[in-house]
């Protein structure tokens, strides 16, 4: 017989979120701590700039308690959280009154690069070029899908159809291929 004590029990995200929505501060703290890193990573991919990502994460953290009421059991917590994050990113871009911000972020890559001395410079150049070549929609979609979100969930998060997600991904691939072709021509 397997000893009972090998079990490592914890609470699902969904239960934590419901408890938090019912006023349990500790549940909320655990939930956020659990997801903070993923959230930050997503914010980074959405903005392409460390400082922007930190500000965005802060916005989300500040607004999250009020948003808890909008959480519905039917959704996974991650789906809901990503939707909050994507919406917050959109709001932020709108507030800046320019859709260039995110591209600028990726354009400012050189600065960020210096923080990551060990990185391969060429690889980063390529990444910068790739991300700046994509518009907001494509970049948001990629940020999610490359974070292992399924197409169906990405569709729910972004409020578009699954077909649109698939189309965006293939479109993104097309553009990336174009970048590569250009590079090879040089």
């Amino acid at each position: 017989m397997r000893p009972i004590t090998t079990m490592r029990m914890t609470v699902s995200d969904e239960d934590l979120a419901l408890a938090a929505a019912n006023g349990d501060g500790q549940a909320f703290g655990s939930l956020l701590a659990r997801h903070y890193d993923r959230l930050f990573a997503l914010c980074y991919r959405l903005t392409g700039q460390r400082a922007e990502a930190e500000d965005l994460t802060q916005d989300i953290c500040a607004a999250l308690p009020a948003k808890l009421a909008s959480y519905r059991r039917q959704s996974r917590v991650t789906t809901w959280l990503y939707r909050v994050a994507v919406n917050a990113a959109h709001d932020r871009r709108r507030r800046r009154a320019t859709y260039m911000t995110a591209s600028d972020g990726w354009g400012d890559w050189e600065l960020a690069r210096q923080d990551v001395a060990a990185q391969d410079r060429a690889q980063l150049d390529w990444l910068t070029a790739a991300m700046t070549r994509l518009n907001d929609d494509l970049r948001d979609t990629l940020a999610l899908v490359l974070d292992d979100v399924t197409h169906a969930e990405a569709a729910e998060i972004l409020g578009v159809s699954e077909g649109t997600i698939s189309w965006r991904i293939s479109e993104a691939k097309k553009r990336l291929r174009a970048i590569r072709t250009e590079e090879e021509a040089i």
């Binding site: 009972i4 004590t5 090998t6 079990m7 490592r8 029990m9 914890t10 609470v11 699902s12 995200d13 969904e14 239960d15 934590l16 408890a19 019912n22 006023g23 349990d24 501060g25 549940a27 909320f28 703290g29 655990s30 956020l32 701590a33 903070y36 890193d37 990573a41 980074y44 991919r45 930190e54 994460t57 802060q58 953290c61 607004a63 999250l64 308690p65 009020a66 009421a69 909008s70 959480y71 039917q74 959704s75 996974r76 991650t78 960020a112 990551v116 390529w126 990444l127 790739a130 990629l142 899908v145 490359l146 292992d148 979100v149 399924t150 969930e153 409020g159 990336l176 590569r180 090879e184």
Partner: protein, 706 residues
């Protein structure tokens, strides 16, 4: 450099580049953000810090409570897995609740993998903590527990499988080692139904967060809702309600000498009355924010004098009588009656039902009631009318092409096929509905989108502003929008108001089939055929006769004085046969009820030549579809009239609404008892029993206030 980037097919290069480029969060920032979140959480959920008064909720609360539930569970679950789960929950409780437990996981929490700088706090250092390395393996195995019944069969398993760092939801991953516990696990989350009408109602009158804190008082253990409460079928945790109501501060008392002109748009919505009724019937006083007095007054049909056949489409009737709640002031009662055109030759209707089928619509008083309501309405349509149905949840979809109303069965089948599920993409739905409406349009026909929703516009486009702009654009193309609200809990009254006001339509709230009968059958013609658009009212009071005045209600409908003559400024529509009532409380010059002292240094009021005039009433309206408005003016004399039954009843409702809003300042000792007496004495014909019902509601409110 891209020699190794030969294939983009799977985006693998981009993915690995991103993964290696994404920095770790700064620990300082992380801590600061988490702290900020916690602070805000405490602002949003203040009651979570203390024990809240559990009054009123007690009767609905299941007996038994936590320990009873735990006992039951231990009695009923005897499998090894069951014991495993309960033991674990006790362990969790220990870890989260006791200082020692918290110390344990703060200090010693094992770092499960080297990707995250901070260990997941929910990983429990049980005595077998040396098993921690197993976590990576179990994380990747992604147990079948994930697909528990509560997930409704959605594809969950495919997203968390790739990287070890996804191991966070550990409870879901523990299954590899405790697969036999699956039998025990399902009841826990499954008992938490998303909504429960009875409880939602009960908690609605108080601050949402506080209400839920009450429910959970003593039941929440460190983020785990104690399993005992979960196994108790009768206890179902409600979600916080997210109702938002549009309202403004009460109209202030105006001093005639300073602001002699009052301007407002008519309001033919009735949603506020239905919300009030629903609250009272559920046993609590409505949120004062939800009470819009003018909507309560205008809920009732009044037998006002009708306009003559060939004259203006609307006729104002003015009466002046003593205020029921203050003998020293007078009520100026202004009634606008719209003409009732010959129904026989009404133009064909093109209706697009835009139906919210998001998950929140599943309640019995939402989608099912909506289907019944539309069945009722279908019988009112004529063969030449056309109906189309668009549903929206996560995505908008055309359910029924434009179909002649005579094909009743086709329409009913389409209605019946609707099911609730998914998120809410209001904007997508609206766009599609308008596109369908435009495709159906033909000369001389009336097009209208009827939006039926519980008010959640939480996905897709954005704020109310963008949405209302869009609707205002479409309004100018001749397609109007009416809004029907269903259900409570997340009724977004503010958004509904904004949509209907901008769509030149009415907003009604449907809580019962009776209300559906009123809105969609008895008054359907008025709701769908406007006879006058952009109806604005402006009154200039005569400072020689009126010292002070106050408009009762219409807080959300106030207009700027100059906008009265600006035809570009939108205002309310008057439907066929509808009437609109506005009531001012005025204080005559020299009355002891005057509240503000005259200014010592102000200019003495120039004695107007016409001291027999109380004021001057101006109306503006547009013929349907016209761009230029027409003006009607009439002086109001100081002679009081004998208030008719209709005006007296309207006054009683005005008093009732003010009592619900808590406007004690103006009402003095006047209370529900007086309101009941006044309304009871003025029930008039009351063919449909609406006024009788209003008196019942006053009695309910009285009993809840005592």
């Amino acid at each position: 450099m891209t020699s190794n980037n030969n294939e983009f097919d799977d985006l693998a290069d981009l993915k690995s580049a991103l993964a290696s480029a994404t920095p770790r969060p700064d620990p300082g920032a992380r801590a600061a953000h988490l702290r900020l979140a916690q602070e805000n959480f405490e602002k949003v959920y203040p009651a979570s810090q203390g024990s809240a008064d559990p009054s009123r909720l007690m009767s609905e609360r299941p007996r038994g409570g936590v320990w009873q539930g735990v006992k039951e569970m231990l009695n009923t679950i005897t499998t090894k897995g069951g014991l495993t789960v309960t033991t674990a929950l006790v362990a969790c409780g220990f870890l989260f609740l006791s200082p020692q437990g918290q110390e344990l996981w703060r200090a010693n929490a094992p770092v499960v993998n080297n990707l995250g700088p901070v260990a997941d706090p929910v990983i429990l250092p049980t005595p077998e903590a040396d098993n921690a390395p197993l976590l990576n393996q179990t994380a990747e195995q992604e147990s079948p527990v994930v697909a528990l019944p509560e997930t409704g069969g959605r594809a969950l398993t495919d997203t968390l499988t790739e990287t070890p760092r996804e191991q966070a939801p550990l409870g879901e991953t523990a299954g590899a080692e405790m697969s036999d516990s699956e039998i025990a696990a399902p009841p826990m989350p499954a008992a938490v139904a998303p909504t429960n009408q009875a409880l939602t109602r009960m908690t609605a009158p108080m601050d949402g967060a506080q209400g839920y804190a009450q429910e959970f008082d003593g039941m929440v253990i460190g983020g785990i809702v104690a399993p005992g409460s979960m196994t108790d079928d009768s206890f179902i945790a409600p979600l916080p309600d997210t109702e938002a109501f549009a309202n403004a501060d009460d109209n202030p008392l105006k001093i005639t000498a300073e602001a002699p002109v009052s301007t407002f748009s008519i309001d033919v919505d009735t949603a506020a009355y239905a919300v009030v009724r629903q609250s009272l019937n559920a046993g609590f006083l409505p949120n004062p924010e939800a009470v819009r007095v003018e909507e309560m007054i205008n809920y009732f049909p009044y037998a006002y004098p009708a306009p003559e056949a060939d004259g203006a489409p609307l006729l104002p009737t003015v009466s002046l009588f003593e205020t029921p709640w203050n003998p020293n002031t007078q009520l100026l009662h202004i009634a606008l009656q719209g003409e009732m055109p010959a129904l026989a030759d009404r133009p064909p209707l093109n209706l697009v039902f835009l139906i919210d089928t998001s998950g929140s619509m599943a309640d019995a008083n939402k989608l099912p009631l909506l289907k019944q309501s539309f069945r009722l309405m279908l019988d009112q349509l004529r063969p030449e009318d056309q109906v189309a149905i668009v549903e929206y949840a996560g995505f908008a979809g055309l359910v029924l092409q434009a179909t002649a109303a005579s094909e009743r069965q086709t329409i009913l089948n389409a209605l019946q096929s609707l099911g609730a599920g998914g998120s809410t993409n209001g904007q997508g739905g609206l766009e599609q509905a308008y596109a369908v409406a435009e495709s159906m349009a033909a000369d001389g026909e009336v097009g209208r989108v009827i939006l039926a929703t519980d008010g959640d516009f939480n996905v897709g486009a954005t704020g109310t502003d963008t949405l209302t702009d869009y609707i205002a654009d479409k309004r100018d193309t001749g397609v109007y929008l009416s809004v029907l609200g269903f259900g409570r809990g997340n009724l977004d009254d503010a958004t509904m108001q904004a949509l209907a006001q901008n769509g030149n339509g009415t907003a009604a709230y449907i809580d019962t089939l009776n209300e559906a009968q009123k809105v969609l059958v008895d008054q359907l013609t008025g709701a769908l055929f406007p006879i006058a658009g952009d109806v604005k009212v402006q009154i200039e009071f005569n400072p020689a006769t009126v010292a002070e005045y106050r408009l009762i209600g219409y807080e959300t409908r106030a207009l700027n004085r100059e906008d009265f003559n600006n035809d570009a400024v939108d205002a309310g529509e008057l439907g066929a046969g509808h009437s609109v009532t506005a009531i001012y409380e005025i204080t005559p010059v020299g009355s002891p009820a005057q509240r503000a002292d005259p200014l010592r240094y102000g200019e003495a009021v120039a004695a107007s030549e016409s001291t027999d005039e109380l004021g001057f009433l101006k109306l503006r309206w547009k013929e349907p579809g016209a761009d230029e408005s027409q003006l009607m003016t009439t002086p109001i004399t100081v002679n009081t009239t004998v208030a008719g039954t209709e005006a007296q009843f309207a006054a009683a409702i005005a008093g009732f609404g003010q009592l619900l809003r808590g406007q004690d300042l103006y009402l003095g000792d006047w209370s529900y008892a007086e309101a009941i007496a006044l309304a009871n004495a003025n029930r008039g014909e009351d063919d449909f029993g609406y006024r009788n019902e209003a008196v019942q509601l006053m009695r309910l409110a009285q009993s809840l206030t005592d």
